[in-house]
Subunit: 423 residues, 2 copies
């Protein structure tokens, strides 16, 4: 285990800082030192705030985020820091304003320490970010830098995004809590769009209670973790239409199942409806059609500056017809409605967060298969940290809830997390 | 009547230009001359494209928009022209990329002649734009310049937007066709956001068939006007929860009713459900809550550069609670579902487009009352031109259809328009 792996609990820090301006100032300064010391190696950050300005900001902020540092995925506009969206096209781009989530962070009392590495336009091209737990492994993607920044203790909070599996997967690989809210819960305004039907703001923190606190502060919804009303009932899928998890990931889920059953949870086997299989294709169709418009300027005017991976994807996307898109959208809407009743009888699903631990090497960000359909369906997903795979690296278990039931989903995820800690 | 009032039919021009490159080049050059001659007075344009570059673009474009000039509301990003969103905050702003609708226009063969005046962030502060029909009157707002540009023959097409009544109202005042599609039909990406639940791309042209052609080219949906399948049934509201139209507007609607009845249409009196009254408040709540986030950067960092009108609006918006917002969104969703069945038995509604002809003076853009709820409900609306009020100015009648039934709504609107022409 690398000594770079040091996630810090936000709620603990908030308790420590209460009434102690000096302590939070000291903590902030230490974050900058840590980044300066380690990020040459880790490559999680793409731009760093100025220490003096950040310290000044710290002294004036008010709100439930209590002056805690936050790192922001470089897919969100910031008027005071270069915002490159992971692309050389925008290497020197300074947006004229801030993304809405950046405004909300500041209004709620967080201070930005800088921007984190993202795959090119939050698609699949790998970033140079290393996994703080094992430097020879990917941190996942596309929110590579945000997951790594929290895992490495650069900041107790980070903002990411998810269009397929860009929050849940890196959270799983880096051993931190990742939360993809119900579609639309947090504003995507000022986030570089890939697919407007799917783009979702994702949140990272050291643990589920932390991420729920952040989500409550930003959304205004009551999401802070509360006690479960009774014995929770988890659905455990008997198989996955998008392929099986590795034996490694399956055994981690088994371990979690035994632990939560021992703690009083009911775990019941569930089968996906046939439409679940089709949703993977619907995701591809909708994402392709929309990205050919949302990245239309870059494709039409700056094509030679796109990676071959993204250029090839957009070349194919150009061939998706409006009729195919309309059909896929209609099928997705029907599936979203059907999913609400499919959840009857269970409180949430328990699945792997990703097919395996973080793959070795930096040539791929891993496979979003276990997230893609949930993003399409708009359902809240939490990657719960705390478990290790057979190679010793972090591996998350995912709790998925009913669309709109984010508070219940976070409470379930916290139950899993705390049960695993005690087990 | 001012000689500035000269809308040009796009479909006619397309026929004229077929196989005649010189004619369309000549037409383009004439547009620039016209703008240079009249816009000192009219103030519809905020930025003009370069003639040489535009002529070059014209020679390379392909697609159903056939090299027709288009004017673009200055709420949409353009990488090659200043985009100020109607605010001094962005007086020199050159976006790094184009809005998706700009990409689509070019891909479908239109050429941009420049940007048109918008109210500050598409809210209510009046622009200096004059009404081409009567220079002492407002052109409406917030898409003031786009409606005026089409009315004055600067371009056969213009792009606008609508969050309350920003397309339908100026179309009515300027005597051109205005079309607010079903929510989500056209991408708002790269449009300065006011309220993401309502912001809709609006289209302007000289007549309904033109605007339907433009909408089909941009959306890929089959929207070009086709014959009605049978005798159309129009609902005529017996009263409006947002207030009565002027006697002037009411008599114009009466005139339209008599004409379409004579042409074989059935017009039946309809009553709004009680929830329709509440939707005006829901619109205010949702628009306020979202704009306090979407204009959060400007409110927090550039407040002194906002007009008092917008600043006061945002001061009040700051007090809208998340709970009130969640309630309003839930009520709006329920109303959207209820509206689909409320339309049973009628093909569309016929209402005034605005409470009256364009008001005199440039101190107000007029009242969006007859549009606001339909924007909230996501329903397609068309302002049909061709009628005059008692003061001699244009005044539109509005055809409203079921959400998602844009082709049928445009066909109904074309029926009204063509009936009025013959009457």
């Amino acid at each position: 285990m690398s000594d770079l792996y040091q996630p810090h609990s936000a709620l603990e820090l908030l308790r420590r800082f209460e009434g102690n301006v000096e302590a939070r100032r000291h903590y902030l300064h230490e974050r900058f030192e840590r980044i300066r010391e380690f990020d040459v190696q880790l490559r999680a950050m793409t731009a760093l705030a100025e220490l003096d300005a950040t310290t000044q900001a710290l002294d004036s902020v008010r709100g439930p985020l209590g002056g805690l540092p936050v790192a922001i995925k470089d897919i969100f506009d910031t008027h005071d820091l270069v915002t490159a969206y992971g692309s050389p096209i925008y290497a020197d781009h300074r947006p004229a304003s801030d993304a809405a989530i950046v405004t909300l962070l500041r209004r709620q009392g967080a201070v930005s320490i800088g921007k984190t590495a993202t795959s090119e336009f939050a698609y699949m091209a790998p970033t140079p970010t290393r996994n703080p737990w094992a430097l020879n492994c990917t941190a996942g993607g596309s929110s590579s830098g945000s997951a790594a920044a929290v895992a490495a203790g650069y900041a107790p909070f980070a903002i990411g995004s998810q269009t397929a599996g860009s929050t849940i997967r890196p959270a799983s690989f880096c051993g931190v809590a990742g939360y993809k809210p119900t579609f639309g819960l947090l504003p995507t305004l000022g986030m570089k769009c890939f697919s407007w039907s799917f783009d979702t703001v994702g949140l990272f923190a050291s643990c589920v209670r932390d991420v729920a606190h952040l989500a409550q502060a930003l959304s205004g919804h009551r999401l802070a973790v509360s006690d479960l009303p009774g014995k929770p009932v988890f659905g455990l899928p008997d198989s996955y239409p998008w392929g099986s998890p590795s034996a490694n990931a399956a055994s981690v889920v088994d371990h979690a199942v035994h632990a939560i059953e021992a703690a009083g949870a009911v775990v019941t086997s569930v089968e996906f409806a046939p439409w679940m299989t089709e949703m993977t294709g619907a995701h591809a169709t909708i994402q392709s059609y929309e990205s050919f418009q949302s990245l239309g300027f870059e494709y039409d005017h700056r094509r030679e500056q796109l990676t071959p991976m993204l250029r090839d994807f957009l070349n194919r996307a150009a061939n998706v017809s409006t009729d195919a898109y309309i059909d896929a959208c209609a099928n997705a809407e029907a599936a979203k409605a059907a999913l609400l009743t499919w959840f009857d009888g269970i409180d949430g699903l328990l699945t792997p967060s990703a097919p395996d631990e973080a793959p070795e090497g930096l040539t791929s960000t891993g496979d979003p298969a276990f997230s893609r359909n949930w993003t399409l369906l708009g359902a809240p997903c939490v990657s719960v940290p705390g478990l290790r795979g057979e190679r010793g690296g972090p591996i998350g278990v995912q709790v998925i809830g009913r669309r709109g039931e984010d508070a219940a989903t976070l409470a379930l995820a916290a139950f899993v997390e705390e049960t695993l800690k005690k087990a």
